[in-house]
Symmetry: C2
Subunit: 226 residues, 2 copies
DNA sequence: AAAAATATTTAGGCTTATCTAAAAAATTAT
DNA sequence: ATAATTTTTTAGATAAGCCTAAATATTTTT
């Protein structure tokens, strides 16, 4: 039986929620007017499937859609997406703080947990965890009202030679990337100094934990510093 | 060993898991050979849908099915079902012990949480909760290997006049029933004495918390005592 | 501005899990 | 043992969410 009979305000399927979340994340980067193709790429699906789904979501008034012109979330859609993000990040904190998960293990499980429908569950979890402001990857956790602090941060790849920054987040939460960081002792709160920058390929030689290592542009493009 | 075998429990859909769980619970009451109709009733679906699904589950070798003869879980099917029950009950303990849920609020949320797929999650949750043996309704929680202690218990409705028992479980975890129990101060561990039994309708007058109350047969049929 | 390339939508199908209605088998009653 | 009833299965339909292939619209290149 359908759950939204009980929780009228939670009337989205798992698939619809994933679309909303993806569009939300894309809007955070590219602003309004998200293309069909970019959504398809993000969700690893086909553009035709995206067209089908955005028509449905437009009817539910969580986004605005005009043929060939991309989509934008409405206030309602953004609220819904923010709730999903809130759930995802709170569950990640739970897994790391309470269940001994490492930061590279939480993403896939949180992808499932974020779809659990119970307003009480998520708000009590927030209380239980002590109202955390950040998830294990340094991303902000929206509060009950959907507000969160946007922290100052820039990509490590934009830091000038001889300057120092503190790692405050990552741009990729995949297990592979995070394991790479672990292997190289790069973690949140860590001081990183750029010793030199290779102009040909953008690779950086950095000082971390009093050790020199060289990282590719792809890596430095996925590390946020402050 | 093949990879899929290690994660064999990953290959069931939410719907398949619900069928397995229902058949498991029905077998606990009625033994092997569960009828199509009883499964349909339990899952609030149609017999024809059940026939379709049990054919599919038989192909996956989690149950044995012969036309017109009902179904029985295989070892594999029982193991899978036990895992789902383990997850359901551990999540219920989590909700009550850590998130301030009352015992009448946990069932629906646990119905969702039990389908989250992550072996590490459930075993770490077990550790975090201190390896609980019982859920908030007095039902035993299977351990990692699927073993659990079957506790001695009988229905309150079978207790003779003037005898006393201790409430150790309930046979219905619906919010309505549990709220009724709360209202009448009936909870796990509570001493209950049967003062008199009405032979016409089976209703009982019981002494609980030094107070006399009368409960219907339907109620006493859903309370387990020891 | 026309041609080429790219992006998006439409049309038609597939799969899963459900349903209703009808047929078939099993059980119960007479 | 036959008729009536109940249970179960089959047949065919539906909806969600995805797919491929083809058509159409938009953008870029020349």
């Amino acid at each position: 039986m359908y759950l939204w009979h009980q929780y009228y305000n939670y009337m989205f399927s798992l698939s619809e929620e994933n679309y909303l979340k993806s569009i939300y994340h894309l809007e955070a980067i590219h602003g309004k007017g998200i293309s069909t193709n970019s959504i398809a790429k993000k969700l690893e699906t086909k553009a035709s499937s995206v067209t089908d789904m955005i028509k449905k979501l437009a009817e539910k008034e969580v986004l605005v859609y005009k043929k060939y012109q991309g989509v934008s979330l409405t206030i309602l859609g953004r609220k819904e997406a923010t709730t999903i993000v809130r759930k995802h990040r709170l569950w990640e904190v739970f897994l790391v703080d309470k269940l001994n998960f490492s930061w590279d293990e939480v993403h896939d499980v949180a992808e499932q947990l974020e779809h659990i429908k119970s307003p009480k569950l998520i708000d009590e979890l927030d209380v239980f965890l002590g109202f955390p402001k950040m998830d294990p990857h340094g991303d902000p956790i929206p509060d009950k009202e959907g507000n969160f602090q946007k922290i100052e941060k820039r990509l490590l790849s934009t830091l000038e030679e001889h300057k120092t920054g503190i790692c405050v987040g990552v741009n990729d939460s995949s297990s592979d990337f995070l394991k790479y960081l672990d292997k190289n002792n790069i973690s949140l709160g860590q001081k990183i100094k750029v010793l030199s920058k290779e102009s040909f390929d953008g690779s950086l030689t950095i000082l971390i934990h009093s050790k020199e290592i060289t990282i590719s542009k792809k890596i430095s493009n996925n590390i946020y510093i402050q």
